[in-house]
Symmetry: C2
Subunit: 332 residues, 2 copies
């Protein structure tokens, strides 16, 4: 893409063009060489949006929850960006379509921008692209950016860690309370939601979660209790019947306020930006090496030796770091 | 640790000391500076073991399956290494203990070595440590190395990709057949097992899986069908009653034979070793940068600028790569 066209796109997005925004999203999703220039250009505009992650097992009603929250946010005259991370299996088209159709009422609303991330990139590609898409929505002046993920793989955890507030959504099925512990959801939740709360076992589930949280608080080292602590709420909702959503919206606002008051919001964002730098260096190094592989016979030989098992990967990695391979690469 | 002690440990492991093996595992799990020397030392001994990954949702009976396979492998006079990746939640101690106790019959058997990976490392730490532990078991001359993981997060996928054969274990509960697609298990399975096959819905589940596999085969580009293809079997087991396990063991042997005959085993292992090199370079770069941060004021300033949001992470990563930061680091 010519530099001029990219500048034009950025300018158009700046003037509120959703078409330009969508095209820029496609560019960052493809991880092409324009990504650097896009991120550099939007950097001064970042930090406005309050970002919210919604995660939980499949079938927990996350899409309905996001849908309902979007309606409430729009009623409060706020603009909303929604990013949904969908599994890329070619078999799952049907279910996904169903989810998206439910968001249909918002498609005609210019104050809402919805993006499904369809590609399952390797080596953190999906997480990286999702973070960049969230930044574009932030630069587009969305007041809220909601990102919805399924499960708790590394990609999902990486994305959740990049949000200001994480909502973990569960359903009152038996066994879920055990799974929440195992999956490490406990560590990332700022708000718990028991959705489909009209089903059997909802009360039991909420009690279980509250007890686990008590246990978590009581295990905290005494020294840490001096700072004000966020008390993770456990909320009951029936997203498709619009029950409990105003309370959830309130809890979100409270958490945002809590983060802002104590300076925790800025601390989290600082850590996040520095972590992103490390991740980008890692990725650039990988990319540079794989590019160099075709140009540099010495590096190609090293890879061959490792591939054949004649040189162990650890020793080879030290050779790479001592060498000029990383420096010789062209512009990334 | 003094160099001599490490050499001694390596020598003792070479002479069959399980105590030395366990201590070396602890060292690689801690990711200390000895890891390089350990991997270098064992490199010439690698490639003997046939590695098998067992994955699936929580409660699918993976531990019983691994237990039963171990018994069969021992009956065939083979030595076995077992690596179990357990979630690190402090709350899940009870369930884990239960799983491990079931393997109890093998604890006194010198032909079986069992290791639970308890730490959930960040930045691929758990996957890296698991791969290294598998290598130690290989160097210890285990004929089979079984590695058991829960779910399909990035760590689990990384570990499964590092094995020769992947068994995906499911149970005949409704909804599982949808989840298998979503979770991307389809892409990694060499053998499907429907465990607890005496339960309702087992036959339905097996039919579903077979149909999905048919669909997968029929979607293959025509050009790819020239090479011999592995036909992924769908097997029924009741691991705790020892039903179907001999057939599973046979399927494992067939797959191993298939891989060896077509040269696919060596191709997979070659790719794997080269991928490991890339991952190790990435990790070494991250570690070098974080170490340098305390020593180099210019790098510290760069991180500060990024943290404060005054410099975007992408531009900063280009500065890092153009700089001497990566070269200045001491020995890793």
């Amino acid at each position: 893409m010519a530099r001029q066209t990219l500048s034009q796109l950025l300018e158009n997005m700046g003037s509120g063009s959703a078409v330009a925004l969508a095209r820029l999203m496609t560019l960052v999703e493809r991880e092409g060489r324009e990504v650097g220039r896009i991120l550099e250009a939007i950097a001064p505009q970042l930090g406005h949006a309050f970002t919210i992650g919604v995660t939980g097992p499949p079938g927990a009603g996350k899409s309905s929850l996001v849908d309902g929250l979007t309606t409430l946010m729009r009623a409060a005259h706020k603009t909303v960006g929604v990013v949904a991370i969908d599994p890329s299996s070619p078999f799952s088209g049907g279910a996904l379509l169903g989810d998206r159709i439910r968001m249909g009422q918002h498609y005609l609303d210019k104050g809402v921008f919805i993006r499904s991330m369809a590609t399952r990139g390797s080596h953190g590609g999906l997480a990286r692209a999702t973070l960049d898409v969230m930044k574009l929505l932030d630069a587009f002046r969305c007041d809220y950016v909601l990102v919805e993920t399924v499960g708790v793989g590394q990609t999902e955890l990486d994305v959740m860690r990049a949000t200001d507030t994480v909502i973990v959504t569960l359903v009152p099925e038996a066994g879920d309370s055990v799974q929440v512990m195992k999956a490490g959801l406990m560590e990332i939740a700022d708000i718990f939601v028991v959705n489909k709360a009209d089903r059997d076992g909802a009360q039991r589930m909420m009690t279980d979660l509250s007890l686990m949280l008590e246990l978590k608080y009581s295990n905290r080292p005494a020294g840490q209790t001096a700072a004000p602590q966020w008390k993770i709420p456990v909320l009951a909702t029936q997203a498709i019947n619009n029950v409990g959503l105003p309370e959830l919206f309130e809890a979100l606002e409270s958490h945002h306020q809590f983060l802002a008051d104590g300076g925790e919001l800025e601390r989290r964002r600082t850590t996040r930006r520095q972590e992103e730098l490390l991740a980008r260096v890692e990725y650039a190094v990988r990319r540079r090496l794989t590019d160099q592989l075709e140009l540099d016979p010495a590096l190609a030989r090293l890879f061959e030796e490792v591939g054949a098992g004649r040189l162990d990967p650890h020793s080879a990695s030290e050779q790479v770091l001592r060498s000029e391979f990383l420096k010789n690469g062209g512009e990334l």
